[in-house]
C-alpha cells in the first residue's frame, strides 16, 4: 500500500464513521474544532484506525499529540514504517 493509498483509506474510514463530508477531509483540519469530533469520538477513532490497518495503537503515546487530520496521517504512516521495519 502506498502512502497515498494509506491516507485515502484513513480519510475514507473517518469520513464514513463520523459522517463527515469527504470534501472536509483536509490535512490541516483540526479534529475537535473543524471536524466536530469530541473525546468520545476519539475512543472510536482509535478503533476505526485499528480495524482499518490491523494494528493496536490505543496505548501509544503519540495518539495524545494528535490535533489535526494531518497528524493522523503522519501517525499512521510512521506506525506502518515501524511495523514494516520489524523483521518477520
Amino acid at each position: 500500500m502506498t502512502n497515498q493509498e494509506i491516507i485515502e483509506r484513513i480519510d475514507r474510514s473517518i469520513a464514513e464513521e463520523f459522517e463527515i463530508d469527504p470534501e472536509e477531509m483536509k490535512p490541516e483540519k483540526t479534529l475537535f474544532q473543524d471536524l466536530g469530533l469530541d473525546s468520545l469520538d476519539i475512543v472510536d477513532l482509535v478503533i476505526v484506525l485499528e480495524t482499518a490497518f490491523g494494528f493496536k495503537i490505543r496505548e501509544e503515546e503519540g495518539i495524545r499529540k494528535i490535533r489535526t487530520l494531518g497528524d493522523i496521517h503522519s501517525f499512521v504512516l510512521q506506525k506502518k514504517d515501524e511495523l514494516e521495519s520489524i523483521p518477520r
Partner: protein, 410 residues
C-alpha cells in the same frame, strides 16, 4: 400544600403504523393490524411465534450523529416521539432548556439489540478491544430518558421508571405527580421499546405468546376473544408532554386532556400471573386518587394483551368495580404489545378517542370468551362522548398501574 392540576399539551407516537398520533388514529379507525410475519423468527430454535408488530419507515438519520451515536433503536423512537410532543405543545427553547422541564421515560430493559451485538463481538475472542464508546449509553437502563434529555438540552429531572408492560403508564403517572407537587412545570413522559426475539421468547416459553396465527398475522392478538392464544410483541414509543394547568393557561397552550387520577400497586401473589382482586385494588386506588366513584368513568381502555389468564383477570376486575356499565376495549388487537411503550401509545389513543367522541373497538374480538363476557365490550367504532377514561396496564413482575384522564374543563 395545594396540589397543582396536570394537563396533557403534546403527544408523539411511533407505532407499528409509523410516526405520529394522526397516523396511529387513522390506522386504528380503519381497523388495520400492525402485525406481520417476521421470517427471521423461523431461524431461531425453540421459538414458536412467527409474528410481531414492528415500526416501519422511521429514519434515524434525521437525528444528528452527535446525539444518535448513543442511541439504540428504542432511543431513536423515544427521541422522535418526544420531539413531536414538544412541537405540538409549542414549548420555546427556553422552556425546554430552562430547568422546569423534566423527563420520565422508561423501557423494559436497555437495548437488547445493542447488548446482543456487544456480546456477539465479545465472544469471538473474549475481547473488548472493538467496543465503541456508544455501547454503554445504549444499554444502560435509563438510555431512552437520558438520550431524550441530551438531545433536547433538558436540564430538569430525569427518571426512568422500568416495569415492563406498566412502564409507559407509570412514567406518565409519576411525571404527573412531580408536576402536581410543583417540582417541575413540564414533564416528557412515556415509554419506548424495540423488538428483539428475547421478548417474544419470554412470552413463548411461558406459553403466553401467540402461535396459532403465524400464517394470518392480522388475526392476532385477540384480546378477550375465545380463540385468543397469547401476546404478539411490538415496538415503538409514546411520549406525552405533561404540564401544570397554571402553565398551560398562562401560555395559552392547547389542552388535550387532564390527568386526574393515578395509582400503582404491587401484586405479590405471583411474579408472572395477574390476580383479579389486586388489579381491582389498583383501579380502585386510581378512582380514590381522582376523587370519583366508579360511576364517574365513561370508558375503560384495557391492558388486555390476548393472554388466557390476563384477559380473564382484568375482565373480572373491571366487572367487580364497574359492573357491566362501562364500555371497554383493548387496542392490542391492532397494535400488538409494545411493552414499555404500550401504555403511553394507548393513552394517546384514549385521549384522541375522547377528543373525537369516538370509541375504538377491540380488533379481532369476534367471539367474546364467556369468561371475559362480564364486561361491556366495544365491538365496533362507536360514536359516543366520553369525558373520563381509565387506562390500565399490568406488568410481569406484578406491577399494576391505572391512570384516569378527563376532558378538560376549567
Amino acid at each position: 400544600m395545594p396540589l397543582k392540576r396536570v394537563v396533557i399539551t403534546g403527544m408523539g407516537a411511533i407505532s407499528p403504523f409509523g410516526r405520529g398520533v394522526d397516523t396511529l388514529m387513522t390506522a386504528l379507525l380503519s381497523g388495520e393490524s400492525g402485525v406481520r410475519i417476521l421470517p427471521e423468527l423461523a431461524d431461531i430454535r425453540g421459538i414458536r411465534t412467527r409474528v410481531a408488530a414492528l415500526v416501519p419507515g422511521v429514519d434515524p438519520g434525521e437525528i444528528p450523529r452527535k446525539y444518535r451515536r448513543s442511541m439504540s433503536t428504542m432511543s431513536v423512537f423515544a427521541a422522535l416521539a418526544a420531539g413531536d410532543a414538544i412541537a405540538q405543545a409549542g414549548l420555546s427553547g427556553e422552556q425546554v432548556r430552562g430547568g422546569r422541564l423534566g423527563v420520565s421515560i422508561g423501557s423494559t430493559i436497555g437495548s437488547p439489540r445493542t447488548t446482543q451485538s456487544f456480546f456477539d463481538d465479545f465472544r469471538i475472542d473474549n475481547s473488548v478491544e472493538r467496543m465503541k464508546s456508544g455501547v454503554f449509553f445504549q444499554i444502560m437502563n435509563h438510555s431512552c430518558a437520558a438520550n431524550v434529555a441530551h438531545m433536547f438540552g433538558i436540564t430538569g429531572r430525569t427518571v426512568a421508571p422500568a416495569a415492563a408492560c406498566s412502564t409507559g403508564c407509570l412514567a406518565v403517572g409519576y411525571g404527573a405527580e412531580m408536576i402536581s407537587m410543583g417540582k417541575q412545570d413540564f414533564m416528557l413522559c412515556g415509554g419506548a421499546d424495540e423488538f428483539h426475539p428475547l421478548t417474544a421468547a419470554t412470552f413463548d416459553i411461558m406459553n403466553a405468546a401467540s402461535t396459532r396465527f403465524n400464517e394470518s398475522p392480522w388475526k392476532t392478538p385477540r384480546p378477550f376473544d375465545r380463540d385468543r392464544d397469547g401476546v404478539v410483541c411490538a415496538e415503538g414509543s409514546g411520549i406525552l408532554l405533561l404540564e401544570s394547568l397554571d402553565s398551560a393557561l398562562r401560555r395559552n397552550a392547547g389542552i388535550l386532556a387532564e390527568i386526574v387520577g393515578f395509582a400503582s400497586t404491587s401484586d405479590p401473589e405471583s411474579i408472572a400471573n395477574p390476580n383479579a382482586a389486586n388489579i381491582a385494588h389498583c383501579m380502585h386506588q386510581a378512582l380514590l386518587d381522582a376523587g370519583i366513584g366508579p360511576e364517574g368513568i365513561d370508558y375503560v381502555n384495557a391492558h388486555a394483551t390476548g393472554t388466557e389468564l390476563g384477559d380473564i383477570a382484568e375482565s373480572e376486575a373491571i366487572r367487580s368495580i364497574f359492573g357491566d356499565r362501562v364500555p371497554t376495549s383493548s387496542l392490542k388487537g391492532n397494535l400488538g404489545h409494545a411493552m414499555a411503550a404500550s401504555g403511553a401509545i394507548e393513552l394517546e389513543a384514549s385521549v384522541e378517542m375522547m377528543r373525537r367522541e369516538t370509541l375504538l373497538p377491540t380488533h379481532n374480538l369476534d367471539h367474546v370468551d364467556p369468561l371475559c363476557a362480564s364486561v361491556t365490550h366495544v365491538r365496533e367504532i362507536t360514536r359516543r362522548r366520553v369525558d373520563t377514561v381509565m387506562k390500565n396496564n399490568f406488568a410481569l413482575g406484578g406491577v399494576n398501574s391505572s391512570l384516569i384522564i378527563r376532558r378538560f374543563q376549567q
